[in-house]
Amino acid sequence: MKLIVVSAGLSSPSATRLLADRLAAATLGHVDAELEVIELRDLATDIAQHFVTGFPSARLAAALDGVAAADGLITVTPVFAASYSGLFKSFFDVIDKDALTGKPVLLGATGGTARHSLVTEHAMRPLFTHLRALVLPTAVYAASEDWGEEGLAQRIARAGAELAHFLTPAARGTTPDVDTAAAIAPRSLTGAITSVDPQDGFDVVPFAQRLAALRV
């Protein structure tokens, strides 16, 4: 089982990364999974170049493929101008539109004040709903003052338990519905091009079927 953390923190050490690590630890307390952390700062130039060239560098492709193949995600962004950071959004702008379908995603955000607490709800949640992820009910926002307060630890623990619950195969329930199964099957080339092995990368509609569909 693979758990991936996507952290958009920019400084080092970063409060965003700190929250991401705490969320990962809280999850791994309940479930045994291989953890990988993707620091978007390291991919910032690759992401910008993807916008210009239309294809990802090998390094970015590996990160995008990793996310697509993961069993669950923890995504954490700093709050910039009352929303997720541009870098955070840009990563999810270039990911394949089907990469997150049906995948449990835990949301986290950090900010200087508690006034932006709802950024996880009004900015992050709609983004991941659009990507058809399974967005977990508990999202964790940590303002500067929260790091010294009661409450943050409990929220982290609750969020981690939720993610762990949805990571376990039993909790994820029976076979996914047809659409979800199609979407999480080996990737098509309609979205971001990634380094997924070509041999099973295509799902071709036989041409006669396309012709037949048009006959009126």
Binding site: Q49, T53, G54, F55, L189, S195, P198, V205, A208, R210
Partner: protein
């Protein structure tokens, strides 16, 4: 194997002088480039089709008709002809006409266009893009292959006992390539008909091109046209050369850095390592081009984009001299040596007519 050039037909400011050619200058430059292609011994000239500035070639058969009259052996082609927004009846007639004018030196490449807005300009809906490509091409084939067509479809008025004129030269329609960058549906379409598949290749990493060509080859065999190795594959590529590699890099860098399609992103070095763009000596271009067959197998047509990024005509003509004198003769020899028996030659009108006669003869004896 055929070697040639393809042009997008963009009007782009020369970043080193700030000068932008007029439409007339650009159109005349494209014609001069085509004539030069034959002069330096290339096999193919292909023009794009666009209906929006900064591009000029909206009427490919007008341009190719002029070039036909001024050349002897050059194959005239497109890169691409919009199968989605052009009426297939008009494509059938325009290109059959061009076949007669050019004594058969014609083929064409189907494409779906590079911009969404082109669809409504021609009364179409981009959401129908793939379906338009499928239906229009199915009709186009019938208009060429059958003398009298009665047809009904979703996207155009029905036809009753219609004969598109003139009929294809010698009863053999122009060879068709299907150009695609990222749509597996188009590779599937090319395979279904046993047509050629051209991967534009120029902005894409080799792994991606390989995926698409592999798919086409597998499906070509699936539809019984031959082995995967016998499928007809074309590739794009783009180069800038000088005798000395460092001169090429120095001269091309400002064009690369400012080009609408390359510029303001990765460095020239990063881009050349990730895509087929090669900036260097003729030998480097030879080595790079030969490496394409490692990804896609032995293929039939290599087209280079030479008049890009606002390069002035004089420079482009110098580039064509280098291409024709120092690169292509070596590539012809090397590719021929590497090619296993059984890999077909690039299609020409003469060969296709001969093959058609052979089939008829077999039919009679059987």
């Amino acid at each position: 194997m055929q070697f040639g050039i393809f042009t997008v037909g963009d009007v782009t400011t020369d970043p080193t002088t700030g000068r932008t050619p007029t439409e007339r200058e650009r159109i005349k430059a494209m014609l001069a480039i085509a004539l030069k292609a034959e002069e330096v011994g290339l096999d193919v000239f292909a023009t794009g089709e666009h209906h929006n500035p900064p591009f000029v070639p909206s009427s490919p058969t007008t341009m190719l008709g002029y070039i036909a009259a001024r050349t002897e052996s050059l194959i005239l082609s497109t890169s691409t002809t919009l199968i989605t927004t052009n009426d297939p009846v008009k494509i059938a007639e325009d290109f059959a006409m061009l076949q007669h004018v050019a004594d058969g030196r014609v083929d064409l490449m189907m494409g779906r266009g590079n911009t969404g807005p082109v669809y409504p300009w021609f009364g179409k809906d981009i959401r129908d893009g793939i379906d338009l490509a499928v239906e229009n091409y199915a009709l186009l084939r019938r208009l060429w292959d059958e003398d009298v067509v009665t047809w009904k479809g979703k996207f155009r008025t029905p036809l009753q006992s219609f004969t598109s004129t003139p009929r294809p030269l010698d009863g053999v329609a122009p060879f068709v390539w299907h150009g695609s960058i990222r749509s597996p549906e188009i590779a599937e379409q090319a395979a279904y008909y046993g047509d050629g598949f051209f991967h534009n290749n120029i902005f894409w990493p080799a792994a991606h091109t390989k995926q698409m060509v592999n798919l086409y080859r597998q499906r070509y065999a699936h539809y019984g046209h031959g082995t995967p190795e016998q499928a007809i594959v074309g590739l794009g590529g783009q180069v800038f050369m000088r005798k000395r590699s460092q001169d090429a890099v120095r001269e091309f860098r400002p064009y690369f850095d400012n080009a609408p399609v390359y510029g303001h992103g990765p460095s020239l070095e990063e881009f050349t390592s990730q895509t087929p763009l090669t900036v260097g000596s003729p030998q480097e271009v030879i080595d790079r081009t030969l490496s394409f067959r490692d990804h896609v197998g032995d293929y039939q047509r290599q087209l280079f984009l030479m008049d890009h990024a606002g390069l002035p005509l004089k420079t482009v003509l110098e580039q064509l001299d280098l291409l024709g004198e120092e690169v292509v003769p070596v590539l012809r020899k090397e590719f021929a040596n590497l090619r296993p028996a059984g890999v077909p030659d690039a299609p020409t009108h003469q060969a296709r007519v001969a093959a058609a006669q052979e089939t008829t003869k077999e039919g009679r004896t059987a």
